[in-house]
Subunit: 159 residues, 2 copies
Protein backbone atom coordinates (compact mmCIF):
# COMPACT_ATOMS: atom_id res chain seq x y z
CA UNK A 1 0.00 0.00 0.00
CA UNK A 2 1.64 3.24 -1.10
CA UNK A 3 2.02 6.02 1.39
CA UNK A 4 -0.27 9.00 0.87
CA UNK A 5 -2.90 6.94 -0.95
CA UNK A 6 -6.54 7.13 0.18
CA UNK A 7 -6.21 3.52 1.22
CA UNK A 8 -3.23 4.31 3.42
CA UNK A 9 -5.08 7.15 5.12
CA UNK A 10 -8.19 5.03 5.64
CA UNK A 11 -6.04 2.31 7.21
CA UNK A 12 -4.89 4.93 9.72
CA UNK A 13 -8.52 5.82 10.50
CA UNK A 14 -9.15 2.08 10.96
CA UNK A 15 -6.33 1.92 13.49
CA UNK A 16 -8.20 4.56 15.48
CA UNK A 17 -11.41 2.53 15.18
CA UNK A 18 -9.55 -0.48 16.58
CA UNK A 19 -8.50 1.65 19.55
CA UNK A 20 -12.15 2.49 20.14
CA UNK A 21 -13.00 -1.23 19.96
CA UNK A 22 -10.33 -2.02 22.55
CA UNK A 23 -11.83 0.63 24.84
CA UNK A 24 -15.33 -0.83 24.44
CA UNK A 25 -16.53 2.13 22.41
CA UNK A 26 -18.51 1.86 19.17
CA UNK A 27 -15.52 1.40 16.83
CA UNK A 28 -15.32 4.51 14.69
CA UNK A 29 -12.04 6.22 13.88
CA UNK A 30 -11.24 9.44 12.01
CA UNK A 31 -8.21 11.36 10.84
CA UNK A 32 -7.71 14.75 9.19
CA UNK A 33 -5.17 15.15 6.39
CA UNK A 34 -3.66 18.37 5.04
CA UNK A 35 -0.96 18.44 2.35
CA UNK A 36 -0.61 14.64 2.67
CA UNK A 37 0.15 14.94 6.41
CA UNK A 38 -2.07 13.61 9.17
CA UNK A 39 -2.83 16.55 11.47
CA UNK A 40 -5.46 14.90 13.71
CA UNK A 41 -6.31 11.37 14.85
CA UNK A 42 -9.33 10.53 16.97
CA UNK A 43 -11.74 7.78 17.87
CA UNK A 44 -15.18 7.65 19.35
CA UNK A 45 -15.11 8.43 23.09
CA UNK A 46 -18.80 8.78 23.93
CA UNK A 47 -18.69 6.22 26.75
CA UNK A 48 -15.37 7.22 28.27
CA UNK A 49 -16.19 10.94 28.31
CA UNK A 50 -19.91 10.34 28.86
CA UNK A 51 -20.40 12.93 26.16
CA UNK A 52 -22.93 12.32 23.37
CA UNK A 53 -21.04 14.77 21.13
CA UNK A 54 -17.68 12.96 21.44
CA UNK A 55 -17.87 11.27 18.02
CA UNK A 56 -14.55 10.55 16.28
CA UNK A 57 -15.22 13.20 13.60
CA UNK A 58 -16.04 16.00 16.08
CA UNK A 59 -12.89 15.24 18.09
CA UNK A 60 -10.79 15.13 14.91
CA UNK A 61 -12.20 18.45 13.64
CA UNK A 62 -11.55 20.12 17.00
CA UNK A 63 -8.00 18.72 17.10
CA UNK A 64 -7.22 19.78 13.53
CA UNK A 65 -8.56 23.32 14.13
CA UNK A 66 -6.48 23.55 17.28
CA UNK A 67 -3.39 22.36 15.39
CA UNK A 68 -3.91 24.87 12.58
CA UNK A 69 -4.98 27.67 14.94
CA UNK A 70 -7.89 28.29 12.62
CA UNK A 71 -11.61 27.54 12.83
CA UNK A 72 -11.63 26.77 9.08
CA UNK A 73 -9.94 23.60 7.91
CA UNK A 74 -9.24 24.78 4.38
CA UNK A 75 -7.55 22.24 2.13
CA UNK A 76 -8.21 19.44 4.63
CA UNK A 77 -9.73 16.02 4.04
CA UNK A 78 -11.39 13.90 6.71
CA UNK A 79 -11.20 10.10 6.61
CA UNK A 80 -13.67 8.19 8.77
CA UNK A 81 -14.48 4.51 8.98
CA UNK A 82 -18.28 4.86 9.13
CA UNK A 83 -20.64 7.22 7.31
CA UNK A 84 -21.03 10.31 9.53
CA UNK A 85 -24.27 11.25 11.31
CA UNK A 86 -25.96 14.62 10.80
CA UNK A 87 -24.12 16.27 13.69
CA UNK A 88 -20.73 15.35 12.27
CA UNK A 89 -21.80 16.06 8.69
CA UNK A 90 -22.76 19.64 9.47
CA UNK A 91 -19.68 20.10 11.68
CA UNK A 92 -17.62 19.36 8.55
CA UNK A 93 -19.54 21.98 6.59
CA UNK A 94 -19.01 24.51 9.41
CA UNK A 95 -15.30 23.62 9.38
CA UNK A 96 -15.05 24.07 5.57
CA UNK A 97 -13.59 20.57 5.18
CA UNK A 98 -12.76 20.09 1.50
CA UNK A 99 -13.17 16.36 1.10
CA UNK A 100 -14.70 13.48 3.02
CA UNK A 101 -13.75 9.83 2.59
CA UNK A 102 -15.79 7.27 4.47
CA UNK A 103 -15.51 3.50 4.47
CA UNK A 104 -18.78 1.72 5.37
CA UNK A 105 -22.29 3.15 5.07
CA UNK A 106 -24.55 3.51 8.10
CA UNK A 107 -28.10 2.73 7.04
CA UNK A 108 -29.66 3.95 10.30
CA UNK A 109 -28.08 7.36 10.77
CA UNK A 110 -25.73 8.09 7.86
CA UNK A 111 -26.08 11.62 6.53
CA UNK A 112 -24.35 11.10 3.17
CA UNK A 113 -26.86 9.00 1.28
CA UNK A 114 -28.21 6.46 3.81
CA UNK A 115 -30.67 8.00 6.29
CA UNK A 116 -30.58 11.21 4.27
CA UNK A 117 -28.19 13.06 1.96
CA UNK A 118 -26.90 16.35 3.31
CA UNK A 119 -25.13 17.11 0.02
CA UNK A 120 -28.59 17.63 -1.53
CA UNK A 121 -29.17 20.65 0.73
CA UNK A 122 -27.56 23.91 -0.42
CA UNK A 123 -25.33 25.49 2.24
CA UNK A 124 -22.59 28.11 1.87
CA UNK A 125 -20.02 25.32 1.66
CA UNK A 126 -20.06 21.93 0.02
CA UNK A 127 -17.61 19.09 0.26
CA UNK A 128 -16.54 16.34 -2.08
CA UNK A 129 -17.45 12.87 -0.84
CA UNK A 130 -15.99 9.48 -1.66
CA UNK A 131 -17.23 6.31 -0.03
CA UNK A 132 -16.34 2.64 0.04
CA UNK A 133 -12.56 2.50 0.65
CA UNK A 134 -11.94 -0.44 3.04
CA UNK A 135 -15.67 -0.71 3.69
CA UNK A 136 -15.46 -4.45 4.42
CA UNK A 137 -12.84 -3.97 7.15
CA UNK A 138 -14.77 -1.11 8.79
CA UNK A 139 -18.11 -2.88 8.83
CA UNK A 140 -16.62 -6.18 9.99
CA UNK A 141 -15.15 -4.35 13.00
CA UNK A 142 -18.61 -2.94 13.76
CA UNK A 143 -20.20 -6.39 13.47
CA UNK A 144 -17.61 -7.87 15.83
CA UNK A 145 -18.30 -5.07 18.30
CA UNK A 146 -22.06 -5.56 18.38
CA UNK A 147 -21.67 -9.35 18.64
CA UNK A 148 -19.36 -8.82 21.63
CA UNK A 149 -21.93 -6.47 23.17
CA UNK A 150 -24.74 -9.00 22.70
CA UNK A 151 -22.63 -11.71 24.34
CA UNK A 152 -21.76 -9.38 27.22
CA UNK A 153 -25.45 -8.70 27.72
CA UNK A 154 -26.23 -12.41 27.81
CA UNK A 155 -23.49 -12.91 30.39
CA UNK A 156 -21.41 -15.05 28.06
CA UNK A 157 -18.38 -12.74 28.30
CA UNK A 158 -16.86 -11.12 31.35
CA UNK A 159 -14.90 -8.08 30.25
Amino acid sequence: MSLFSSRYFMSQALKEAERAYAEDEVPVGAIVVKNKRIIARAHNQVERLKDPTAHAEILAVTQAASYLGNKWLKGCCLYVTIEPCLMCAYAMILARIEGLFFAASDEKTGAFGSKLDITKIKFNHSLKVKKGIMAAEASSLMKRFFEKKRKQKKGLLWV
Copy 2:
Protein backbone atom coordinates in the same frame (compact mmCIF):
# COMPACT_ATOMS: atom_id res chain seq x y z
CA MET B 1 -40.93 37.44 35.86
CA SER B 2 -41.58 34.33 37.95
CA LEU B 3 -38.72 32.00 38.68
CA PHE B 4 -38.83 28.69 36.83
CA SER B 5 -40.88 30.10 33.96
CA SER B 6 -39.72 29.56 30.37
CA ARG B 7 -39.18 33.31 30.19
CA TYR B 8 -36.93 33.24 33.21
CA PHE B 9 -34.83 30.41 31.75
CA MET B 10 -34.60 32.15 28.37
CA SER B 11 -33.43 35.33 30.12
CA GLN B 12 -30.58 33.25 31.57
CA ALA B 13 -29.66 31.98 28.10
CA LEU B 14 -29.72 35.63 26.95
CA LYS B 15 -27.25 36.53 29.70
CA GLU B 16 -24.91 33.95 28.17
CA ALA B 17 -25.47 35.46 24.72
CA GLU B 18 -24.49 38.86 26.14
CA ARG B 19 -21.27 37.33 27.45
CA ALA B 20 -20.54 36.07 23.93
CA TYR B 21 -21.24 39.59 22.58
CA ALA B 22 -18.80 41.09 25.10
CA GLU B 23 -16.16 38.59 23.94
CA ASP B 24 -16.73 39.50 20.27
CA GLU B 25 -18.32 36.14 19.51
CA VAL B 26 -21.55 35.69 17.55
CA PRO B 27 -23.96 36.25 20.47
CA VAL B 28 -25.65 32.92 21.13
CA GLY B 29 -26.25 31.58 24.63
CA ALA B 30 -27.66 28.29 25.89
CA ILE B 31 -28.57 26.66 29.17
CA VAL B 32 -29.75 23.17 30.14
CA VAL B 33 -32.48 22.74 32.75
CA LYS B 34 -33.40 19.59 34.70
CA ASN B 35 -36.07 19.55 37.41
CA LYS B 36 -36.26 23.35 37.22
CA ARG B 37 -32.55 23.68 37.96
CA ILE B 38 -29.96 25.05 35.57
CA ILE B 39 -27.27 22.37 35.21
CA ALA B 40 -25.25 23.94 32.34
CA ARG B 41 -24.61 27.44 30.99
CA ALA B 42 -22.61 28.15 27.86
CA HIS B 43 -22.08 30.65 25.09
CA ASN B 44 -20.60 30.49 21.64
CA GLN B 45 -16.79 30.26 21.78
CA VAL B 46 -15.89 29.52 18.16
CA GLU B 47 -13.45 32.44 17.88
CA ARG B 48 -11.83 32.11 21.29
CA LEU B 49 -11.27 28.36 20.98
CA LYS B 50 -10.77 28.50 17.20
CA ASP B 51 -13.10 25.52 17.10
CA PRO B 52 -15.94 25.41 14.55
CA THR B 53 -17.84 22.96 16.79
CA ALA B 54 -17.80 25.22 19.87
CA HIS B 55 -21.40 26.39 19.50
CA ALA B 56 -23.26 27.31 22.70
CA GLU B 57 -25.54 24.27 22.44
CA ILE B 58 -22.69 21.74 21.98
CA LEU B 59 -20.83 23.18 24.96
CA ALA B 60 -24.02 23.15 27.06
CA VAL B 61 -24.81 19.52 26.14
CA THR B 62 -21.24 18.43 26.98
CA GLN B 63 -21.37 20.31 30.30
CA ALA B 64 -24.76 18.88 31.26
CA ALA B 65 -23.68 15.30 30.42
CA SER B 66 -20.54 15.80 32.47
CA TYR B 67 -22.61 17.14 35.41
CA LEU B 68 -25.02 14.20 35.26
CA GLY B 69 -22.30 11.65 34.53
CA ASN B 70 -24.50 10.31 31.76
CA LYS B 71 -24.38 10.57 27.97
CA TRP B 72 -28.18 10.83 27.89
CA LEU B 73 -29.78 14.01 29.16
CA LYS B 74 -33.12 12.45 30.05
CA GLY B 75 -35.72 14.87 31.41
CA CYS B 76 -33.63 17.87 30.33
CA CYS B 77 -34.65 20.94 28.37
CA LEU B 78 -32.30 23.16 26.42
CA TYR B 79 -32.92 26.90 26.08
CA VAL B 80 -31.02 28.73 23.35
CA THR B 81 -31.31 32.27 22.03
CA ILE B 82 -31.08 31.42 18.32
CA GLU B 83 -32.55 28.53 16.33
CA PRO B 84 -29.93 25.73 16.34
CA CYS B 85 -28.02 24.63 13.25
CA LEU B 86 -28.05 21.02 12.01
CA MET B 87 -24.97 20.04 14.03
CA CYS B 88 -26.53 21.21 17.29
CA ALA B 89 -29.97 19.89 16.38
CA TYR B 90 -28.70 16.36 15.90
CA ALA B 91 -26.48 16.62 18.98
CA MET B 92 -29.69 17.20 20.97
CA ILE B 93 -31.25 14.10 19.44
CA LEU B 94 -28.13 12.06 20.28
CA ALA B 95 -28.30 13.43 23.84
CA ARG B 96 -32.00 12.53 24.19
CA ILE B 97 -32.87 16.11 25.16
CA GLU B 98 -36.59 16.20 25.97
CA GLY B 99 -37.50 19.75 25.06
CA LEU B 100 -35.98 22.61 23.12
CA PHE B 101 -36.91 26.26 23.56
CA PHE B 102 -35.39 28.75 21.18
CA ALA B 103 -35.91 32.49 20.93
CA ALA B 104 -35.23 33.90 17.45
CA SER B 105 -35.33 31.99 14.16
CA ASP B 106 -32.26 31.74 11.94
CA GLU B 107 -33.40 31.88 8.33
CA LYS B 108 -29.98 30.93 6.93
CA THR B 109 -29.07 27.85 8.94
CA GLY B 110 -31.88 27.06 11.40
CA ALA B 111 -32.70 23.35 11.54
CA PHE B 112 -36.10 23.65 13.24
CA GLY B 113 -38.25 25.11 10.49
CA SER B 114 -36.09 27.75 8.79
CA LYS B 115 -33.40 26.24 6.52
CA LEU B 116 -34.98 22.84 7.06
CA ASP B 117 -37.02 21.04 9.72
CA ILE B 118 -35.24 18.17 11.43
CA THR B 119 -38.40 17.21 13.34
CA LYS B 120 -39.84 16.02 10.00
CA ILE B 121 -37.19 13.28 9.79
CA LYS B 122 -37.88 10.16 11.84
CA PHE B 123 -35.06 9.26 14.24
CA ASN B 124 -35.08 7.02 17.31
CA HIS B 125 -35.68 10.07 19.49
CA SER B 126 -37.77 13.18 19.00
CA LEU B 127 -37.93 16.33 21.03
CA LYS B 128 -40.64 18.87 21.74
CA VAL B 129 -39.88 22.31 20.36
CA LYS B 130 -41.17 25.74 21.36
CA LYS B 131 -39.96 28.89 19.69
CA GLY B 132 -40.42 32.62 20.06
CA ILE B 133 -39.84 33.36 23.77
CA MET B 134 -37.88 36.66 23.95
CA ALA B 135 -37.24 36.49 20.21
CA ALA B 136 -37.05 40.29 19.89
CA GLU B 137 -34.31 40.55 22.52
CA ALA B 138 -32.27 37.71 20.99
CA SER B 139 -32.45 39.00 17.43
CA SER B 140 -31.77 42.59 18.44
CA LEU B 141 -28.53 41.42 20.11
CA MET B 142 -27.57 39.66 16.86
CA LYS B 143 -28.32 42.79 14.82
CA ARG B 144 -26.21 44.92 17.16
CA PHE B 145 -23.37 42.41 16.83
CA PHE B 146 -23.33 42.41 13.05
CA GLU B 147 -23.59 46.22 12.92
CA LYS B 148 -20.59 46.42 15.23
CA LYS B 149 -18.71 43.99 12.98
CA ARG B 150 -19.49 46.01 9.87
CA LYS B 151 -18.25 49.19 11.57
CA GLN B 152 -15.08 47.41 12.71
CA LYS B 153 -14.47 46.31 9.12
CA LYS B 154 -14.89 49.86 7.84
CA GLY B 155 -12.41 51.06 10.46
CA LEU B 156 -15.02 53.16 12.27
CA LEU B 157 -14.48 51.34 15.56
CA TRP B 158 -11.25 50.38 17.24
CA VAL B 159 -11.96 47.52 19.62
